[in-house]
Symmetry: C2
Subunit: 293 residues, 2 copies
């Protein structure tokens, strides 16, 4: 991580640095140009602003998925439906796909998604693809390169990939005119000085990015084996989490909780548990010990 | 400033810390309760979200003032007018007052503002009072204590007062139901880990707050004398900036620029210059030398 200076906290982030960040992000995320990139203090507020770009209508979400998308779409006045197949999303005013999906790791192919966007274009709809877990995964399926030609907004999460969620840094990638509208809503100083300094350095450091991909891949395999050894059936995964199924899930959830390990459970799928990647070696060992207990 | 830890950057800000922050902010800003407090990554995005709470109508801004208010209100679809007197704002759907005003330091009395809010209530309008420069100034005129009883949203800027603008931390104070709507739009992790850790500590540290008020007051007097010695006529000021008038303003602007000192000029008032507070002693001396040159 680059050093932070008092100025990062004291001064308003300057326009030139912001432009550098967007340019580095355009390259790192393979967006057509920096005019397609909107930096923001996390994806949440972007979701609110994007849902507000579409007049209240029919929002269709590919799910089950990250619940915040449905909450935010409803808040913007849309009538929200969740479907498990992609094709009907072409008829939505606002279509939302998380790719790879959270929590089951399902990956949607670029050509399928482009077909949805194409159908929506005819109706004036908007496709949002939340690629929060794309950086460590199948980057070839990203729509980032196509945001200028099809009506889609891609969300990328800096914090998840770099293990810096507390920094609050995400990006929307969109056609130049749409990106300008989002940028105008966020105003001239959308992100913090620390987020600007760290983001600018990290997104320009190809070794850092590739090493992060490698270490996340290694950690994901370690988690996979650890859960397999514990006899848990894999439902799906990305490099950042693993979803398992077990009739014992409620008991395992409690057992882990007593060891201070929080895993994600799901009200509507009580046999599911989603494990995030442990960080430090001691956290790995704590998880291993707790699963064996 | 409190120490920051890797966890402040790595982890998503937790709900408990966020609650502590809002509780400390409620006390520091004299809001009725923490349910009236909405932390946000800067005032800009709050302005966008607040302007969007009111159906497109007539926005009236007390001005001339900080230009972002007019830009953001127009962006939200309002028809924007700027007036120099307060009374007619009672008939606006969205009324916006910066108090103390930027750039002229004009202060509006609490009772006048409550009268505007009262008039607006009858018509279903909303009053926004941007108190970005209130903390160092006439806090008795703040509407913060009244947000539950009158339909108003008060904006407070953490960064300006504490000299930490790069942190991106501001607050909206509003009636509980309105605050909940804003909070829902910002989502569960509205601010960064560093902003949370520093904000929580600073807003609970009464010595820090009072010392900051004292040192800003001292610095403001020093700036006042320095500008007076330079023969510049005072138009108005707060503890954080000073507005002067001079027929020589364009020449002074250029002269200061050559010394690396940026002051604010105004297209519609070419005789005005707004000076911010210098920071380090060397910046004071640079300003003094440049004004004498």
């Amino acid at each position: 991580m680059p050093d932070l200076w008092p100025e990062d906290f004291a001064r308003l982030p300057d326009a030139e640095s912001l432009l550098q960040l967007t340019s580095h992000a355009a390259t790192a995320y393979a967006a057509p140009s920096e005019t397609n990139v909107v930096p923001a203090p996390g994806s949440q507020v972007l979701m609110t602003l994007i849902a507000g770009l579409v007049s209240p209508g029919r929002a269709v979400i590919l799910g089950p998925t990250y619940a915040e998308h449905a909450r935010v779409a409803a808040l913007a006045g849309h009538e929200v439906t969740t479907l498990s197949e992609l094709a009907p999303l072409g008829e939505a005013d606002l279509a939302i796909v998380v790719n790879p999906n959270n929590p089951d790791g399902r990956v949607f192919g670029k050509s399928e998604l482009l077909r949805v966007a194409e159908q929506q274009r005819a109706r004036g709809g908007l496709l949002v693809v939340d690629e929060a877990f794309m950086d460590a995964g199948p980057r070839g399926e990203s729509l980032s390169l196509h945001v200028e030609e099809v009506k889609t907004v891609v969300l990328r999460s800096f914090g998840k990939f770099f293990g810096l969620a507390g920094l609050r840094l995400s990006f929307a990638l969109a056609a130049t005119a749409l990106a300008a509208r989002l940028r105008a809503k966020l105003g001239p100083w959308p992100i913090s000085g620390p987020a600007l300094t760290i983001g600018k350095a990290a997104l320009w450091d190809w070794d850092w990015i590739e090493n992060t991909r490698l270490s996340l891949g290694k950690a994901a395999r370690r988690l996979h084996l650890l859960l397999q050894d514990a006899g848990l059936e894999s439902v799906g995964y990305t490099e950042l989490f693993h979803l398992v199924r077990s009739p014992d899930a409620p008991r395992i959830f409690e057992k882990l909780g007593r060891s201070g390990i929080l895993v994600r459970r799901f009200d509507e799928q009580p046999e599911w548990l989603r494990f995030g990647l442990p960080g430090k070696e001691e956290e790995w060992q704590r998880l291993e010990a707790a699963l064996r207990a």
